[in-house]
């Protein structure tokens, strides 16, 4: 390429460059069962934000496990994690990822 940034691996092959696309990681946290968490990240204002949810310690008997809802608001700056309406929620890992828009 004639301009931009390239990062090479130790073997000399190209590892990452400004031709790539990525998701950057804003935060990772674990939300306790039935808890509500509200976090604000001013650095991601206006960005595209996604949140992955992964259940933790789902019992082998596979009982009724509800993931919490995740909502993104306030120009993408505020992440709210809360139980689904009328339901108890299970412990959950939240990965918040952002991409420039």
């Amino acid at each position: 390429m004639s301009y931009g940034l390239s990062v090479f691996k130790a073997d000399g092959s190209l590892g990452f460059s400004t031709a790539d696309v990525t998701w950057q990681t804003v935060a990772q946290f674990t939300v306790a069962a039935n808890a509500t968490v509200v976090n604000t990240y001013s650095e991601i204002a206006g960005m595209t934000v996604i949140a992955q949810r992964q259940l933790v310690n789902v019992p082998p008997a596979a009982q009724e496990d509800y993931v919490p809802n995740v909502t993104v608001s306030n120009n993408s700056q505020t992440i709210t994690v809360a139980p689904q309406s009328g339901l108890s929620s299970s412990q959950c890992i939240i990965h918040v990822l952002a991409q420039d828009t």
Binding site: D20, I50, I93
Partner: protein, 318 residues
């Protein structure tokens, strides 16, 4: 910006800066063990006995920070999903469910963590590091491969995980001792396809936790009333039977050339049968039956919510 570092890609989008951390590859999780099950309904034999089966594999990796796992299928025809992720100290365990009972061709799990959670051996002294304004928290470290993605979106499996048309239900007043299943509980045809021309069945991997679950049952209640001969006292004798099949599903995913599919794989299954009849004539009443497993909860699909998935090229990290 007045100071710091920022790199934009060819589309003018920021991909490295000094405020948000990049994910970096730290290695593949170790495949420790697996178990298989549910290629058919336990204790039942007859029509529609066959299920998709599952293999649940355990993988571990030790790292600081919370890893973001990607599934790189070895057999791209199998449905896979991470159904559980737990940690003890700094050792993370992933439970990965695959459709089918074969223990061969298990997927590989590629793990990524924040730049600041990477452990770099002291001998690796060359490269480029970007720090946050605090001067100590890394957002980027060229000594490990940063995550580059090729696609993604939100995935949602269909409500009905069963191949037969419509959800299974309850039939009353069937013939006594009816115990032939008339519903196909397999899931291979039930999925939502998301088009993505970058997906191939050689190198593509994905990250998408399994959160949706479902339980569905088929119940057939049988009945008959038999006449008691006059020489045995006359009157009638009633007979009842119940046959009950249930399957619990977890959402799983499949990569096809040009498509990311969100579907289902059976996680548990059971069968319950009972019959009884009242006293009459020369005979006393009686009952009998058998059961396998307990249905986890009433029929429903839960956690069917838009779930973010990310697609990447595994060959960059090999």
């Amino acid at each position: 910006m007045a100071y710091g570092f920022e790199a934009k890609n060819d589309s003018g989008k920021v991909i490295i800066n000094d405020t948000i951390e990049n994910l970096h590859f730290i290695g593949k999780a170790t495949h420790d063990s697996q178990y298989t099950g549910y290629t058919n309904f336990p204790t039942y034999s007859g029509a529609n006995d066959t299920l998709d089966g599952n293999t649940i594999c355990y993988y571990t990796i030790t790292c600081s920070g919370t890893p973001v796992p990607f599934i790189k299928p070895t057999d791209y025809s199998r449905w896979t999903g991470i159904i559980k992720q737990s940690v003890s100290g700094q050792t993370w365990t992933f439970h990965v469910m695959c459709s089918g009972a074969s223990t061969g061709n298990m997927p590989q799990i590629y793990c990524f963590v924040n730049a600041d959670d990477i452990a770099i051996p002291s001998g690796e002294t060359h490269g480029m590091i970007v720090f946050k304004a605090d001067g100590s928290t890394k957002t980027f470290d060229s000594r490990r491969q940063p995550l580059a993605i090729t696609g993604g979106g939100n995935a949602l499996p269909p409500v009905d995980p069963t191949n037969s048309s419509g959800l299974p239900g309850v039939t009353n007043n069937a013939a006594w001792q009816s115990s032939s299943l008339d519903h196909d509980f397999r899931s291979g045809n039930q999925y939502t396809a998301y088009s993505d021309s970058n997906i191939n069945t050689s190198n593509t991997m994905f990250s998408c936790p399994s959160i949706a679950q479902a339980v569905y049952s088929r119940v057939i209640n049988g009945y008959k009333s038999s006449n008691i001969p006059w020489y045995e006292g006359g009157g009638s004798q009633e007979h009842w039977s119940t046959a009950w099949w249930w399957v619990m599903y977890r959402s799983t995913f499949r990569l096809r050339s040009g498509n990311f599919d969100a579907g289902w794989t059976c996680y548990q299954a059971g069968y319950w049968y009972s019959e009884n009849y009242e006293s009459g004539g020369w005979f006393s009443g009686g009952s009998g039956g058998y059961t396998s497993g307990n249905r986890p909860y009433d029929n429903k699909t839960i956690n069917r919510q838009a779930n973010a998935y990310i697609i990447a090229d595994s060959s960059r990290y090999d």
